[in-house]
Structures are given as C-alpha cells and as structure tokens.
C-alpha cells in the first residue's frame, strides 16, 4: 500500500479532507485534475443560506439542525450537527494558520454583496468582505464609494449600486460611483484581451504601485468612509496589501467578487494547498483517476491517466471529483453516471426531468442535487449493489442537496471532506 488515504479531486472537499488526514499523520495524496470550483466562487463559505421555502436563514446551525432531523439523505444529516461545527472550526483554524482570516458573525449569517448588488447570506468571509470594522461602517450610514478600475470589462459598478439601493439596508444611503485608473499601466500593457481580474491582482501583488493606487482611491472616493473594489487586491500578499491600502487611504476597503477567475476563491485555494503540503501531503497536479476494480466490496487500486500500467493503491480512497462541471458526474442523452468507478447515482432517468423550464426558476434545477448515492458513512454503492467500504465520497459529487438553492455548497464540501477524513482516521486506529 502506497498511501493511507488517496483523495481523488483537489477542490474544497478534497483539500479539507487531505489536510485533516495529513495533519493526523496519515500518508496522504491528492490527485487534482485541474482548477477547482474555488476559482469561480465568491470566496465566502456558505453554510446554510436559505430554507426549504427559499427564505433567508439567519442562524445557519439551527437550519442544519432542522435538516439533520428532516432530511436524512442530506450530507449534513449523514455527518451530524456536531461534525458540521467541528469541520467549520477546523477550516477556520486551518486557513488562519496560513494567514488567511475567515470571519464569521457568531452563530449568525452575514451578507456579502454580489456584482449585481444582491445581498447573499453566508457564514464565513474574508476580512475585506466581513469584519467587525466593516460591519460597523456599513451599519453607520456613512457614505460608500463603489469603484471600478477604468477599462476593466468584468465588472459594472452601476449595476451593483442600482440593485443595492433596492435593498432596505442601503435604500437611503449615500452611495457614489467612482473610477480609478492607472494610465501608465495601460500603456505598458501589451495584450488587452487579457485584462482580467487575475492581471489586476498581479499588479496589486507587487506593492510597487500601491502609493499611486491609494492616491487614486483617495481622489475618487472623496469623503466616503468605505470603498468597494472588484476583488483583485492581490492573492499572495493580500493581507499586507489591503492593510497598507487601508492605512494609506484611511478608508475601509471592501471587495466584490466578479467574473472568474475569482481572486477571493484563489486565496482560499492557495491557503489550503499550502496547508496540505505543509503537513507533508502529496499534491499531484494534472492527474485524473480513470478507473479501478472493486472486489468483494473494496476498491483494489486506481488507474490514473498518467501512471500508465502502474496502478495507485491506498488503504482508503476519497472521491471528491465534484459535479458535472468538474467531471465528477457525467451524462449522455440517456443517463447520468459517475464516470470513474460507475458508482450508483441518484438521478431521474428521464432527461426531461433533469432541468426546470426556466433557467432562473425559483426551484433551481433537479440536476444540481444529483450525485453519487452514499450510505450514512459516505460509502458509495457499486453497480452490483455492494457498498464499497474503503471509498468515501465528499463534496459536490454527493447527492441529496442543492448547493445553490440552499446556499450550502461550501459548507457541505468542508463538512463532508472533514467527515470522511475523520472516518478514515478512526478506521486506521482500529
């Protein structure tokens, strides 16, 4: 056996699971096929945003408790409330050790502002989105400046302001639009087709331009107490950069997530990878599991794309390959499958049942809650109907929840990843 735990899929669930395993001293590897969904996430962690009627959830753990009782197939119910809490604490601690602070509002949700000015309920956010100071400023009624970087085509602050003002909290507020620009940067920029958030984040990562940017912000924001920028305040040096920018401008700097790549999400991705490798985990990039034989209820080994005829074996496996977009689930015109091991999935058999008639249907789409069928231990079932005891499933590959409608994608990924790790650690102790 090469590994104690082999994790297939390096997204939020896989990384959380990997860190927990590696931190417990297990020989752990993550196979990562490419970018994960953090690259187009808000960078906040939603635990439980909406209830079954679509109403806002104020206290997410209370809602998790309800779900644990009422919906036994929901990943939260399989993990249990105590594990959800422990997983969240673990995640906060892990990111904080790498220097990325994830703030919460006690046992309450808080809001993050979207590019279209919507307020979305979430549980954990970076300090540029939720912090005690920011909270005070937003509640104080002071003036806010919503800014954009001149010529940046992946964000339109007018839309943010228009819809923000429709919300009770911001209705009577003094909100101004402003634009900052760095003409000398624009001149040196060769290929403007690549003028995306990642390019701006790179400018911000080098502290060199900060004084000029701060000056621009001060000029454009006037007497506003808080300034929002599309999220591009650096990736690696984000914390110091933002602090310096706040010191130089004297204003609270808020970040709004925009079109992918999401800088806010990239920070979490980077923090988690760093943590995993720091614990001695092996992160194998650009590698995909392709198949693996299951005999008497156990996965024997995994064949991967790059390992040729050399199978990779481990005592335990975690399947955290994501949903359709990431390739964890596959479909053709007839059916929905789990493509690596052909585990049983929960999905409607008739294609016309997979989707809702309107794209923005309040009920979301059935396909979003499809996924691999697991028992209460997160063990999947293979095509012969046998439970596969040495495989655990985590994250969006699971069935039984709708990450968007319920506002719980991040929470389920972290919880199920953590829960699978705990189970593996427990099994190995026996």
């Amino acid at each position: 056996m090469k590994y104690d735990a082999l994790i297939i899929g390096g997204g939020l669930a896989g990384l959380t699971c990997g860190i927990r395993c590696a931190a417990a001293g297990l020989k752990t590897a993550i196979l990562s096929g490419g970018m994960n969904s953090l690259h187009f996430s808000s960078g906040s962690i939603d635990l439980m945003g909406y209830d079954d009627e679509g109403e806002l959830v104020k206290k997410p753990f209370d809602q998790v408790k309800k779900i644990c009782r009422a919906r036994r197939d929901h990943p939260y119910a399989k993990a249990g409330l105590a594990t959800v809490k422990k997983a969240m604490e673990f995640f906060i601690e892990t990111t904080s050790k790498t220097g990325l602070t994830m703030n919460h509002n006690g046992d309450m949700n808080h809001f993050h502002i979207t590019g279209l000015g919507a307020l979305k309920p979430t549980y954990l956010s970076q300090e540029s989105v939720f912090s005690p100071r920011g909270h005070d400023i937003l509640n104080s009624g002071e003036k806010i400046a919503v800014m954009n970087f001149s010529g940046f085509r992946d964000y339109y602050p007018e839309q943010t302001v228009a819809y923000l003002k429709k919300n009770r909290i911001f209705a009577g507020r003094d909100i101004v639009l402003a634009e900052i620009s760095l003409p000398w940067y624009m001149d040196t920029q060769k290929n403007l087709h690549e003028f995306r958030s990642i390019d701006l984040a790179r400018i911000f990562d080098t502290a060199k331009y900060l004084p000029r940017i701060a000056e621009e912000i001060r000029r454009a924001a006037g007497d506003a107490a808080a300034v929002s920028l599309p999220a591009f305040l650096g990736i690696k040096n984000y914390r110091t950069i933002r602090k310096r920018l706040e010191d130089m401008t004297g204003k609270f700097i808020y970040e709004i997530p925009t079109l992918p790549p999401s800088i806010l999400g990239l920070r979490i991705d980077q923090a988690l990878k760093e943590s995993f490798i720091g614990y001695g985990g092996e992160f194998i990039a650009n590698e995909r599991a392709e198949s693996g034989p299951v005999d008497s209820g156990l996965l024997e080994h995994v064949n991967t794309r790059n390992s040729g005829r050399e199978p990779v074996s481990s005592k335990y496996y975690v399947l955290s390959t994501g949903s359709f977009f990431s390739g964890g689930l596959a479909s053709n015109s007839q059916r929905i499958t789990e493509p690596v091991f052909n585990f049983k999935v929960d999905a409607d058999t008739k294609r016309s049942k997979w989707y809702s008639w309107f794209f923005f249907d309040a009920k979301s789409h059935p396909f979003l809650s499809y996924g691999v069928r697991t028992d209460k231990n997160f063990n999947p079932v293979n095509e012969k109907g046998n439970t596969v005891k040495n495989v655990f499933c985590a994250g969006a590959v699971l069935s039984g929840y709708d990450p968007v409608r319920e506002g719980c994608g991040g929470g389920v990924a972290i919880t199920s990843g953590f829960a699978c790790a705990e189970k593996i650690i427990g099994e190995l102790k026996k």
């Binding site: 997979w354 989707y355 794209f359 968007v404």
Partner: protein, 544 residues
C-alpha cells in the same frame, strides 16, 4: 400621440420585410418598417442557413428550383459577406432509392443548376467526414447564408437611404377608411402609442400575416409548418451535405460560421401554436440519428442547441400537407382579392428568395403609387459586400491586432470593418472570446444596427453564440449596453436575465454531456455568484 407620415409601410422585419424596405428606399420612396420583436427574430433567423442551389426542389418543384439558382447567383454577388460559397453534395446512402440520383440530375438540368456527378472517392476528398458507405455523390452549387447578417445589411442599407426601421414595435390595428387602408397603429417598447400613415402597406410578416390581414378585416389562411434544427458545436463539414432522396426529416447538414446544423423536421402546427418554439426529445432523436448517417462524427460531437421555426406556407388552392405545399412565392393584391385598397401581402417563398419577393411586392407598390423606377437590388451590393480593400492591405492596416480578431469582424461585417475597427486598444478588446467579438464591434452594432437589447446584440455580432452560450460575455454585454446603448443599470440587468433565459430555451432540449456541464457553470455564475434577481415586470408562463 406620435404620428409619422410616409409613403410605404412595411410590416415585418424578417429578410423579406428588410428587403422590401431596401428596395422601396432604392426607388426613392419614403418607408417605415415595423417589427414587433427584432430583425430576423422570427422565421428568417430560424432556418438552417442554406444558400440553396435549388437542387433540393429540382425533382418536385421546378419553379422554386429555378428561382433558387437565379437568386443563388445574385446573392453570391450582392451579399458576399453574408454568404459562404462552400459548394454542396447530394449523397446516396445504401438504404436510399438509387434511382433518385438520376431523377435529381435530370431535374437540375431542367432547372439550369450545374449538378456534377463525382466519384465516391472524390466526394470523400472534398468532405472527409462524410459517411464512407455512400453509393454515389453529386456536386451542386449550394452554399451557406447568414440570415441575421443578411437582414441586418438590408435594414442598414434601407436606413442609410432614409428609411425608418422600428424594431420592438407592434402593430395593434390597421387604420381603415372605407375600403382603403391608411396606416397602422402601433405600440413601441416603452408602451407608447404611435400612428403611421402611408399610401401602401406591405404585409411582409410571414406566418403572422394572417393576424395582420384579420386586423384589416381580411381572411387569409396560413398553414404553419414547424421545422426543428439542431446545432452541433463544431464545424464538422466544410461543404453542405444533402441526402439524395425526396426531401424528408434530418436530411441535411449545413456548416455555418464555427458550427454545423442538422436540419430539418417538418410538422404542421395549428395557428395558435406558432409561438411555441419548443423542440421535442423525439425530434432531437430523429435529427441526431439521421445526421449521424450522413456524417458519423455527429454522434461524438457536442449538441449545442436546438431551435425551431415556422414556415409561412399559404394554401392558395386546396393543397394539403407541409412538405407538399409549394414553397413558391405568393403576392396578394388585396384590392383585387378582397376589394381593400392599399394593402399588399407578400408571403410563402423562403429565405433564398427574399430579394425576389421584395422585388415583386415593391413593383406592385410602385405601380400603385405611380413610380416607374426599376428594381436594382440585384445589382447593388449590400453594405459590407462592396469591393473594398484587399486582404493584404487589410492586414497591413490592422497590423498589431491579432488576425483572428480582424478576420472575425471582417467575416461578419465585410467592408464595414473599416468603420468598426481602429487601432485604439479599447476598440479591439475581446468581449466574447468564443466568437471573437470586440468592444468596437459591439459599440458599432449598438449605435448603427438597431440594437435594443442583448438578444438583438447577439443577432448582430454573434456574442454568446459560441460553445459557452454567453457564460461570461453576457454580463460584459449587459454592461456595455449601459455604456453605448443608454440602458439604465436595471434595464441592463433585465436584458441579461432575458438573454440567459433565451439561451436556455435552445440548450434545454440538448442538455447532456458538455452542454450540461456548461449550463451548470453558467447557473453557478449567475445565480450562485451574482445572485441575479428576477425582473418583476413580466409574468412568466410555461408555453408547452
């Protein structure tokens, strides 16, 4: 209430209506065109974009075949930037009647279509993705035509000659005085009432012509025939591939821009169902399995979207079913037919013959108002199709800008490229990466091509028509509509919402494989990341 006076009122902004507006303007008459939705948003934009050689009709409908080949030659000259002269093949599959091949050659000879018999080997050289099991092949002068570009170019030419093009304006009454129609009463996008008076009304509203006629108190019966098509995400064929058999479902694969289209089904629908553009799972099955017979690669290619259109067939005599009713042109002078002065209906026909239909309708209208000027639309190139700078000079002029970007703009707008593209960086920044649509092209379209919303913008530029179906560029486009189109932030977000719902209609029937992955991603972005709010203005109703 606003009031406009003009000479000719054209109802309908499809290819025919836009063609009439152009023709009328070229003969020196004032003209107002009214379209309830957008240019080419009805039947015109809902076909397979085949530049017919006429061969498809050569066995059964010689008159249509002759019209096709004649218009084919004209369009290759006047609409060069809307046309691709790909050539086409008629191939016989083992299961097809081998004698049809002979009949077709004979029919083409009668119609004056140069159909050349070629060896199977040669056919496979021309089209390597073709089913190698074919028994025989025939080469014909088929091509492809972009209906959006064609209609837009006609409308652009008309408006540059003084015509007024009013899109998103709906006719709600025909103003009649005794036996004479005097004008139309309309409602525009902002719900403002508008009366337009003119000497002649040309009803070029296609399948909706029945409604227009009934507003004037005239009975005209359409036989709507629905045709569904499927787009696959790669251009798997370079030339048009037809199946050599009497026209039936799923017998043609047409390349177009970056994709290929499989057409078509034919189904009669009751008149009250003409707005129902849903494609059924059964139709998808037929199109995919028949398309695969012609080009086996279709089975392994991603289905991008499916859509349907309604052919405006008029039953003049006692004709019965969809495929059997002639696709011929019907010109009705309602003074002769119904005793109503000042109203002309032009219907039937097809995209291919839009210019001829426009010519016939305009000739009659001119006769009514006493204008003798002859039609010249077959000689004058459309805006963008003129002879202009050569490729070499173009490359030199725009050096420094990626040729793929210059080429895409040129492909879509022809010689108008020179009014669109500048070497200013902002101008050629890419907004839609799939289809290489630049900010400059979007600015030009919004300011010059009657763009009122994001869906209109798509028809003019192809923004959001590529593999991702507007995943990222839809948002950017909505932002630019504020900047260049004067939309308020709220309007721009509503447009974004409507655009994504409209894209969804076509994706929904083929939601599997990569299409499902893409849809999930788009949903995450707009619902998850942006939390797009639903506009409250319209009540939504499922239409099936």
């Amino acid at each position: 209430m606003k009031r406009i006076e003009t000479d000719i009122i054209v109802i309908g902004g499809g290819a025919t209506g836009a063609g009439v507006a152009r023709d009328v303007s070229m003969r020196g008459l004032r003209c107002v065109l009214i379209e309830k939705n957008d240019l080419a948003s009805g039947t015109t934009g809902r076909n397979h974009g085949l530049l017919h050689s006429g061969a498809r009709y050569a066995v059964k409908d010689l008159e249509s075949a002759r019209e096709c080949i004649s218009e084919n030659r004209i369009l290759k000259e006047i609409a060069r930037h809307c046309v691709e002269d790909t050539g086409g093949l008629f191939v016989t599959l083992p299961e097809d009647d081998p004698t049809y091949h002979r009949n077709l050659i004979e029919g083409c000879r009668f119609a004056g279509i140069s159909a050349r018999e070629i060896s199977v080997r040669r056919a496979l050289q021309i089209e390597p993705n073709l089913n190698p099991a074919i028994l025989s092949a025939l080469h014909v002068p088929d091509g492809t035509i972009d209906p959006f570009r064609l209609t837009s170019a006609n409308a652009l030419d008309a408006s540059e000659r003084g015509a007024i093009i009013m899109t998103h304006t709906r006719v709600n009454a025909i103003i009649r005085k005794g036996t004479r129609v005097e004008g139309v009463s309309c409602i525009d996008k902002k719900n403002e009432q508008l009366n337009i008076y003119g000497s002649v009304i040309i009803n070029a509203s296609g399948v909706w012509g029945q409604e227009i006629c009934s507003m004037a108190g005239i009975e005209l019966t359409m036989f709507p025939s629905k045709g569904s098509m499927l787009i696959i995400d790669y251009r798997v064929n370079g030339v048009v591939v037809n199946r050599c058999r009497p026209p039936a479902d799923g017998d043609i694969v047409v390349p177009g821009d970056t994709v290929s289209l499989i057409g078509t089904t034919s189904m009669e629908v009751p008149y009250d169902k003409i707005h129902d553009n849903n494609v059924t799972d059964e139709e998808i099955e037929v199109l995919l399995s028949d398309g695969e017979k012609l080009i086996p690669k279709v089975a392994r290619t991603r289905a991008l979207r499916a859509y349907s259109g309604v052919r405006p067939l008029i039953a003049v005599s006692g004709e019965s079913t969809g495929r059997n009713i002639s696709r011929g042109i019907t010109l009705i002078d309602h003074s002769a037919r119904d005793g109503i002065e000042g109203l002309i209906t032009i219907a039937g026909g097809k995209l291919m013959t839009y210019r001829l239909m426009a010519e016939k309708a305009t000739d009659l209208a001119c006769k009514k108002v006493g204008v003798n000027k002859k039609c010249a639309t077959h000689k004058m190139p459309l805006p963008g199709s003129e002879k202009g700078i050569s490729r070499r000079r173009r490359i030199k002029k725009f050096s420094g800008i990626p040729d793929s970007v210059v080429g895409s703009t040129f492909y879509r707008h022809g010689q108008r490229l020179q009014r669109i593209m500048t070497r200013e960086k902002r101008n050629y920044r890419l907004i839609c990466e799939c289809e290489m649509v630049t900010e400059g092209e979007i600015e030009y379209a919004i300011k010059n091509l009657n763009v009122k919303d994001l869906v209109d913008l798509r028809r003019r530029t192809r923004i959001g028509m590529g593999p991702c179906q507007g995943e990222l560029c839809a948002y950017r486009g909505s932002g630019l509509l504020q900047e260049y189109g004067g939309a308020s932030p709220e309007e721009s977000v509503e447009m974004l919402h409507d655009f994504l719902e409209e894209r969804w209609k076509g994706v929904r029937p083929v939601l599997w494989g990569d299409g499902l992955r893409e849809a999930e991603f788009t949903y995450w972005i707009y619902q998850g990341l942006f939390g797009i709010s639903r506009p409250v203005k319209t009540k939504r109703k499922r239409t099936d």
